[in-house]
Symmetry: C2
Subunit: 396 residues, 2 copies
Amino acid sequence: MSTEAKNSVGGPVDGSVGIVTPQSLHFDERVQFKSGDTLENFDVVYETYGTLNTAHTNAILICHALSGDHHSAGYHSKNDKHPGWWDNLIGPGKPVDTNRFFVVCSNNLGGFQGSTGPSSTNPSTGQPYGPDFPMVTVEDWVTIQSMVSDRLEINIWAAVIGGSLGGMQAMQWGIDYPNRIKHCCVIASTPKLSAQNIAFNDVARQAIRTDNEFYDGRYYEKDTVPSRGLRVARMLGHITYLSDDLMAEKFGRTLRDKKAIDFDYNPEFEIESYLRYQGDRFARSFDANTYLLMTKALDYYDPAEAHGGNLGRALASAHADFLVVSFSSDWRFTVERSREIVKAIHDNNLNVTYAEIEASQGHDAFLLEIPAYLDVFYAYMDRVYNELETLKEDLS
Amino acid sequence: MSTEAKNSVGGPVDGSVGIVTPQSLHFDERVQFKSGDTLENFDVVYETYGTLNTAHTNAILICHALSGDHHSAGYHSKNDKHPGWWDNLIGPGKPVDTNRFFVVCSNNLGGFQGSTGPSSTNPSTGQPYGPDFPMVTVEDWVTIQSMVSDRLEINIWAAVIGGSLGGMQAMQWGIDYPNRIKHCCVIASTPKLSAQNIAFNDVARQAIRTDNEFYDGRYYEKDTVPSRGLRVARMLGHITYLSDDLMAEKFGRTLRDKKAIDFDYNPEFEIESYLRYQGDRFARSFDANTYLLMTKALDYYDPAEAHGGNLGRALASAHADFLVVSFSSDWRFTVERSREIVKAIHDNNLNVTYAEIEASQGHDAFLLEIPAYLDVFYAYMDRVYNELETLKEDLS
C-alpha cells in the first residue's frame, strides 16, 4: 500500500477525508442480545475512510461513545460546518492515517442516525419501537460489529479503537474476538462505571423519563419529544465531561453580557448560558430513547463481574497488543480506572502502551487536539502500520 | 454560669436538648435587600437551646445551609424520629454545649418553615408571593439575623457558626458586624462558588423551572408542586454532597434486591434506589421556590468581588477569631477553598484555627459525627467558653 493512496470518499482536503457518504447494511438474521431479547431485520449505517488493501489487513474499526455515531471524520456536504466527531484523530496524515488505513465506523444499534433503534419502525406493529426496542449492551454492539466485519470481508482488524463508551467496545473486542483484532486502543475509558457514574446517569434518565412529554417512551406517536428532560440530562452530562479547572479557566464567575447581577433567573453567569445552549442544542437533535439506552449500556458494562470481579481473568482470552490512554483531569473516568485496565493486561503478560496525558479538559480531552495525546497516537499507529508493512515483506 | 444549668427547652435527655418549640418574631419595618427589592411585615422563626446568662455574653448563632432550617437540635415531639440537623454538634455535653451556651438558630427569609418566604401570603395580593418574593442574599440574611439579635438583646455573639451556605453567613457576620462577633466558625464552606458549583445549581434550577407543574413559580395557586423537577434537583444535589469514595464503599455496583440485572428502567443498582428515595422524600417536603432562592444566594456570594477579587481586603473589617474546618473528600467545597479563607484571615493578622479533617463522607461530613471533627470543635468551643469565664472573673 502506498502512502500516496487516495482515500475512497473524497480525497485529502486540508488534512480531512473530505465529503463522506454514509452506507448501510441490512441484516435479515435474528440476533439474540445479552438481555435475552431478540431483533431481526435491522440496518447498520456506517462510514469508511481510506482504501482497503488487497489483503484486507489494513482495516481499523472506530467505536463511538454516548452521543457519537458513525460519522467520525470528514464532512457530509460542502456546507457542513462541523466535521465528524473524531476528525482530530482520523484523516490523511493524522494519527489514524487514512492514507495508510481503511477506517470503518458504524452506528450502534439503538441509535437514531440510520442504524435500527427505538425511533425505527417496528415491523410487527407499524409504529416506532420506542420502549419495545431491546436493551442493548456493549457486548451486543461488539457482536453486531463482528457481523459488519464479516460483510465487509474484514477478518482481522489491524486495530479497534474507541474512547469512553467506545473504549469499552474496543476492550470487549479484545475479549470476545481475540483472533480478529491485532491492536486494541482503549481511550479515556473504564472497566466499569462507579456508583457515582451510575448516579449521574440515573439522574439524567429520571429527568427524561419524568418529562411530561416522554409518554413512557412513545412520544413519537404523540408527535412530541421530552426536550426539557433531555436538555437537563445533557446539561448535567456536560458538567461531567469538563474538568472543574477548565470550567474555572474558561468561564469562572464571568457574567453573561452584563456588568452587574440582575437578580433574576435568566443566565447571570456565562457558565449558565453555555450549559443551557448546549442542552437546548442537544435536545433538538438527539433522540431521548437512544440516550436512555446508551446510558444503560454504560451502567451494565462490567466484564470482570462474571470472573468474581477479577478484570485480569476477564481479559484471559485476549492476546492483542493494547494502547491505553487516560487524561489527568478526567474525573468521569479517572486515570485510576485506566490503570486498572493496564494492570489486568499486565496480569495476562500482554503488551500494553499506557499514557497518562496531562490535560486540563477533563473527559472531553479524548476528542480534542492535544499535542501530547496525538503524539502518542501517531507513534502507536506508526507501529501498527509498520507491522503491516513487515508482514507484507514477509509474505512477498 | 454553672455547667449544671438546665437548658430552657426541655432539659438534657441522652445528650439531646430534648423537646424544643420554635418561636417567632414579627418585624414591621421595611428592609431593603441587596437586589434593591424591599420587604416589610415579615416573620422570622427561630429556636433556642440553653440559657442566656445575665450578661448576655454566652450566645451562639447557628446559620443554616441550603436545605436546613431553624431546627438545628433536639426534637419537636416525643414521637419525632429525627433530631434537628446539627444535633451531633449541639446539646448538653456536645461541642456546642447547651449547658454553657445559649444557642440561637433562625430560619432564613425565603424559607417555608415559618420565616416569610415565597409560600407566605403577600399582603398586597392575598396570594402567595411565589416568584414575587425578593431574591435574598447571604448579606441580607446576616442583616435579618442582626435584627433578630437586637430583639433577643444579644449585642455580641460569643460565636457565629455555620457550615456550607451557613459558613458564608458566619463569614459575612465577621465582615459586616466585627463588633458583634467574637468567634467566627466557617465549616465546609467557600468564599465563592466555582463555575462547576454554579453549573450544578443551574441544572437543578432548570429541572425545577421547566417542570410542567412549576407555572412560573405560581404552583401554589394551581394546588400542585413541581415535584419531578425538585426530585431531579435533589438527586443531583445529593451526588455532590457525597464523595465518590463513599458512594463506592456504601453502594458500589451492588444490585437492588436481586441477583441479576433485569434490563429495564426500574432501579438495577442500590445507588439508583437510594437516590430516587432521597429525591422523592425531598420533593414531598421542600418548597421549590425556596430551593431556587437558596441556590441563587449560593451563586451570588462573593465578598471579594467588590475588592477586585481580593478576599483579604474583603475581610479587612473583621477582627473576630476564626475557626475554619474543611474535609478531605469534600469535592463540592474543596479544602483549597477553605485554605483561601485561611489565607485571607492571615493577611489581616487575625487568629485562625484551621483543621483539614480526613473524612470519606464528602461535603456531608460537616453534619456527621466524625470524632476528629468533633474533637476540634470541642477544643475550640472550650476556648470560647474559657474566654467568657475569664471575662466574668475580670468583671467580678
